[in-house]
Amino acid sequence: MDTQRLPLLREHDFPSSVPLVGPLIRLVRRFLYWLTAKWAVWFLIQQQNQINQIIGNWLREQESLLREQESLLIDLNRDLTLLARTVAEIEIRQRYLAKSVEANRAADQTKRDA
């Protein structure tokens, strides 16, 4: 749903497609509506429009928050990439040093044996 353009509620127009007397039927219907329900319906429409506006605003806020979160996730994703690379490098150094220590120890042992 496009939250930028929430439509407003409107009163019904009571159209009639009957030829010739159609406009008269429409007029009678409108009159009856005006007499019996207009005030209550108008009140409900106002209420519903307000509710829709609140919901629309709330959705827009959520969308904006979601975009912020997405941007944050992209940053975190990039940080994770850098971190993963750093960890990989540290693991290589660790193995390299362990091998070096082992090589030196073996060399010392050979010297001592000699």
Partner: protein, 410 residues
């Protein structure tokens, strides 16, 4: 302080029976690489189809890499633009290593692995959640509009995270470096990049008459061929139009498609019939095994391997044809443009039917020219693409990366 042990390398790559050029590539290289390193293979191929690989190397699923990664000194990823690399793409996020980037363009591979992950990688590249751009890229993907997609090659994370990058051409190197220059993401060190040739053994070539007999092809015909996957990017329609121009002067000429014609390519046979070439064009479909493909290539006099747009890829088929001593026609674009002039015939990046027909005619007229080009091409492959030589270059690069990281100060 010297560490002279053999390095333990985790190789992450598709292997046969996964149908991928990279499966063949890795299987060619592994025995030679094993002379330098202790190799453990990680692949989602199940049991490798190549018994020599299954016997010589331990093979695990890629998911086991998360458990085993501390056993290895380095990880070596073979990455290309195909969903066969799905688990490797995932592993790369947390377990970076040295990457062999077969194409510096990963749109199809990422998208068809997971559209959700494609979105993640695209936003990683852009730095912002640009939904309009996502829709545009998806549309370009569906239309296979490579020019539009090349603007963002989707290699951002690889460039940012890898410990080293191997590519197969200067064109690919330029794409990687351009991406790196464009990146707004600051990072302390840039990965080493090296260009290595694509390994290609020179197979024992079968005699042309024998190969032609095997496929029921006439011995006296002049045969032009196109091999491998027949994709629109290889311009089969343009090639057929140019081939039609030869008919007046060379009525004995034929055209052989030795490869699977992809759905998006359309109906080549109907097109050939419309050009009046119905009985001159032969479509073999997918040619297996590799020895049979070699025979199909050997049956041809000239192999065409054009590209309308390149994504920085090399062509194993072009190298195979060269290894078999066949003259090839390519466009002067990307890796193809880097081939020495004496080893192939190049047409311009924008050349059309007339220009292509002219070089086809020149080759058709001169058996000496075909022989000379084929010999030079074979010598080039022997010299530059020898798997032992490539494995040696790999070894130098991997040791360089390993020592430069191991000996660096924290």
């Amino acid at each position: 302080m010297l560490v002279t042990d053999r390095l333990s390398i985790a190789c992450i790559s598709p292997l046969n029976p996964l149908r991928s050029g990279i499966s063949d590539y890795t299987e060619t290289l592994l025995p030679f690489l094993a002379e330098f390193f202790d190799l453990t293979l990680y692949s989602d191929c199940g049991v490798p189809a190549n018994p020599l690989i299954a016997e010589q190397f331990p093979v695990y699923p890629v998911s086991d890499l998360y458990k085993h990664h501390l056993r290895h000194d380095l990880r070596l990823y073979q990455i290309g633009n195909s969903p066969h690399h799905q688990s490797a793409f995932e592993a790369l996020r947390t377990l970076p290593g040295v990457i062999v980037l077969h194409e510096p363009f990963l749109h199809h591979g990422l998208y068809y692995s997971s559209p959700l992950h494609y979105r993640r990688e695209l936003f990683y590249e852009l730095g912002i959640p640009d939904w309009a751009r996502l829709k545009y890229m998806e549309q370009a993907l569906m239309n296979d509009d490579r020019q539009a997609l090349m603007d963002i090659p989707m290699i951002g994370r690889i460039v940012d995270s890898s410990l080293g990058i191997l590519v197969h051409s200067q064109a690919a190197r330029r794409i990687v470096e351009t991406r790196r220059a464009k990146s707004a993401f600051c990072r302390p060190r840039l990965p080493k990049i090296m260009v290595v040739a694509q390994p290609m053994s020179v197979p024992d070539s079968d005699e042309m008459p024998e190969c032609r007999a095997r496929f029921g092809l006439p011995q006296d015909a002049l045969i032009f061929g196109m091999a491998g996957f027949i994709h629109p990017v290889k311009e089969p329609y343009l090639v057929l139009q140019a081939f039609a121009h030869l008919q007046a002067d060379f009525p004995q000429a034929m055209f052989l498609f030795a490869g699977e014609i992809l759905q998006e390519t359309g109906d080549l046979l109907t097109f050939a019939r419309d050009l009046g070439l119905g009985d001159k064009v032969i479509i073999l479909g997918r040619v297996e095994p590799l020895e049979r493909l070699h025979q199909a290539i050997s049956a041809c006099d000239v192999i065409l391997n054009l590209r309308r747009a390149t994504i920085g890829e090399t062509s194993a088929i072009a190298l195979r044809a060269m290894a078999l001593g066949k003259p090839i026609i390519v466009r002067n674009i990307g890796w193809f443009g880097e081939l020495p002039d004496e080893t192939c015939v190049k047409i311009g990046p924008e050349d059309g039917v007339e220009e292509l027909a002219a070089v086809m005619k020149a080759l058709a007229t001169s058996p000496e020219m075909r022989l000379r080009l084929g010999q030079e091409a074979q010598r080039y492959v022997e010299r530059e693409c020898d798997p032992r030589r490539v494995a040696h270059q790999y070894a130098e690069f991997l040791w360089d990366v390993y020592l430069s990281i191991g000996q660096s100060r924290v």
